[in-house]
Symmetry: C2
Subunit: 433 residues, 2 copies
């Protein structure tokens, strides 16, 4: 709909007249789009129906014929085994690349574990430290753009969040060290170290080592290492992440990290299993608290997962099938954005090697309006600002694109709307300057 000549010219190099003409053209397309009555969703990181349909035999793993005794002789149908059956601890340990002794397998949600971990620290402190709720001020570092649900947790507990720029190799470590090593009220940092949400960043070895060798002012400072996408590759290229528990131990900071993971985006969201990996001391403290919170988690579902996958190689193979579904979607995003926006100087985006998101940065001050315009055309995006603490993106420019859920045809339509709205909003912005 836009001619080739216009495509190639940077918007900020256009004359006012050119911009006015472009605006008129784009506005017509926008009105057309609004008229179509679309209802498309690129908002959340949901697996697609195609993916969920893929290996239904998961549900045939446990049947009336199954022997439901764990390897260590526990009847998985009865109470007990608070920290998870041994074979599930092993599977999730292999998921994280750490020893099984460092793992507790919980229920269905790693977010729930993270929430409870913050909550536990509020009420009981960390391994004997002062409960955070008794302190005047508790702060968390938040690499940005980041995961909205992390920020929502710390916000709910009244924890002050500090933005840390996320670079291509991980958080700005100079700034992280400045805060962590000088301010004892800084108690945590949220990290999605591999295929970060939404930027797709994989923390470099150097960043992991720097994190592991921090010298925190607070003894109860902890790294919240949400390894949600540990095995969620899209292409054949599989970037590696340095294993942080052993790095922390090497640096004399054995107790400084909690690692979280789950099979929510391996088997089924809501019906997966989730785990924490951390030091013996942290585990013992967590056990001493959760033994009052519950009698145990769903061991049948733990067994179902172990018997279905057999071992970590089973999960690797399974994730290859996911990748085959995700790859064309991520390629389509990049193709569409490149076709429509490249060279215009009105947006840049990531090309992640894994995870669930593409991160888009518009011209400053445009993200909210782009999301609103998309909404008017029936395309739901994650709310602008969601990728920042308190939903405040200082530049109003970051938008999280979640291409995993919609079928490819719908994704294509949604991306057409998106690029149109980016263009129109950008023109309006430039004209208003």
């Amino acid at each position: 709909m836009i001619s080739e000549g216009e495509m190639m010219k940077k918007y900020d190099e256009m004359s006012r007249q050119e911009l006015e003409a472009l605006k008129e053209e784009l506005s017509k397309a926008y009105i057309d789009a609004k008229g179509k009555g679309l209802k498309l969703n690129m908002a959340r990181g949901l697996p697609s129906k195609q993916q969920l349909d893929m290996e239904k035999d998961f549900f045939d793993t446990i049947t009336s014929d199954s022997e439901l005794i764990s390897e260590s002789g526990v009847d998985c149908r009865n109470y007990g085994d608070l920290i998870g059956i041994s074979e599930a601890r092993k599977l999730m340990a292999d998921f994280m690349g750490i020893p099984a002794d460092n793992v507790i397998v919980f229920g269905n949600s790693s977010l729930n574990i993270m929430y409870d971990t913050v909550c536990r620290s509020m009420i009981h402190g960390v391994c004997g430290s002062t409960p955070w709720c008794k302190l005047d001020k508790v702060k968390f570092l938040c690499p940005v753009p980041g995961y909205d649900r992390h920020f929502a947790v710390t916000e709910q507990f009244g924890i002050e969040m500090i933005n840390i720029p996320l670079n291509e190799d991980g958080p700005d470590m100079e700034l992280v060290a400045k805060y962590v090593e000088n301010d004892a009220s800084v108690k945590g940092i949220w990290c999605v170290p591999k295929f970060s949400n939404p930027c797709g960043v994989v923390y470099s070895d150097e960043v992991v080592k720097k994190l592991a060798s921090l010298k925190p002012a607070a003894e109860d400072f902890r790294i919240f290492w949400d390894n949600a996408y540990a095995l969620h590759y899209i292409y054949d290229e599989k970037p590696e992440l340095l294993e942080i528990l052993s790095e922390c131990a090497k640096a004399g900071n054995e107790d400084m990290v909690y690692e979280f993971c789950s099979t929510s985006k391996v088997t089924y969201p809501g019906s997966g299993i989730a785990a924490i990996g951390t030091s013996k001391k942290n585990l013992d403290f967590i056990k001493s608290i959760i033994t009052i919170q519950t009698i145990g988690y769903d061991k049948i579902n733990q067994l179902r997962h172990v018997r279905y996958f057999k071992n970590i190689d089973g999960i690797y193979a399974h994730m290859e099938k996911h990748a085959a579904i995700l790859k064309p979607k991520f390629e389509l995003v990049d193709t569409k954005l490149t076709e429509e926006l490249e060279g215009l100087g009105i947006g840049k985006w990531t090309k992640p090697m894994g995870g669930y998101f593409v991160s888009f940065d518009s011209l400053p001050g445009c993200a909210k309006e782009i999301v609103a315009k998309c909404k008017d055309c029936g395309v739901t995006l994650t709310g602008a600002g969601a990728t920042y603490p308190y939903k405040k993106d200082p530049n109003d420019s970051n938008i999280r694109i979640a291409p995993t859920f919609p079928p490819i045809e719908e994704l294509s339509q949604a991306l057409d709307i998106f690029t149109l709205c980016v263009k129109l909003t950008s023109v309006e912005k430039l004209l208003a300057q």
Copy 2:
């Protein structure tokens, strides 16, 4: 082993000489018992293997052929539906005899919901009240003997627990009213209103009405109504419990109660589903907090339960089969205790119509020693004192007998040891006076 004449004579009417002779005889039997190397457990309220083996086809309910869409069109394999799928809310509502709109279905553990409900109140208060962790003092009323895990929750949060005698129709309501209506630091009461743990008491209609019409000094006072054994009858006689939510509403106390239940002792401990039933206002507040804690609970397992039972009648029929397994065990306990202890004046016990426990009261000052002696003979009982807050039974007399788990032969052996240890301890006690 004890002659008929001795059997009938009350221990405290025996001469010192008679007691000495009896002690010698019992001591021999006790040494014999210790030598047997038994390993029996009457400690915890676990379902038996026989019960768990009973309806294995539960695990065939969801298979690769199943359509996993809920009645309201939600794909149970994906994220969403925080408060539970509608049909599971209905099932658990019928379980409690309340409307589905008043229900949230959670994960696998009602204890976990109770813990989180106390925790939430500590951090966030109750529907806008001051967070309990900001108050100098928070108190809970604890009808005793009661459930050790309830007391452990309030103890962990530093909540002061006040013993309330549990009568045959429920807690001493005069005392409850005195505390609740005059002390604003009293924020809750733990109740197991039907087949209470361990006494098997069913609260009378009068007690329920009195509870429902309390006029609490604290606006954030709540009744924690753990209806764990709502459908867990042993005999054909099925005592009814008045439905407390509607009683509270009638009395103008709509928001004063949280009801908890689960299928842990209906299907499988750890792999069941659990729910809360409460007022709309409470539900909305809970939702506003848990929406940050998790994205949702295990909807597949919710669906599995609904599809297996079809409706509440399916659960009723299922529980009849449990009763058939439990009945001979509870009858054996009563028979053994009657045969060995009746008329001796050294113990009394309950004959519950439902639930999982028999409550035994020894002579004052004997419970710990009885449990210790049983342990020496290889019979594990719930720790003496466990049925009281802080594990402090002021009379050292209450012992919880849990007959559900052991096979009937083992239960019989364990009861022989138990009655022997009751006798020997009682004689020793009387001789020491």
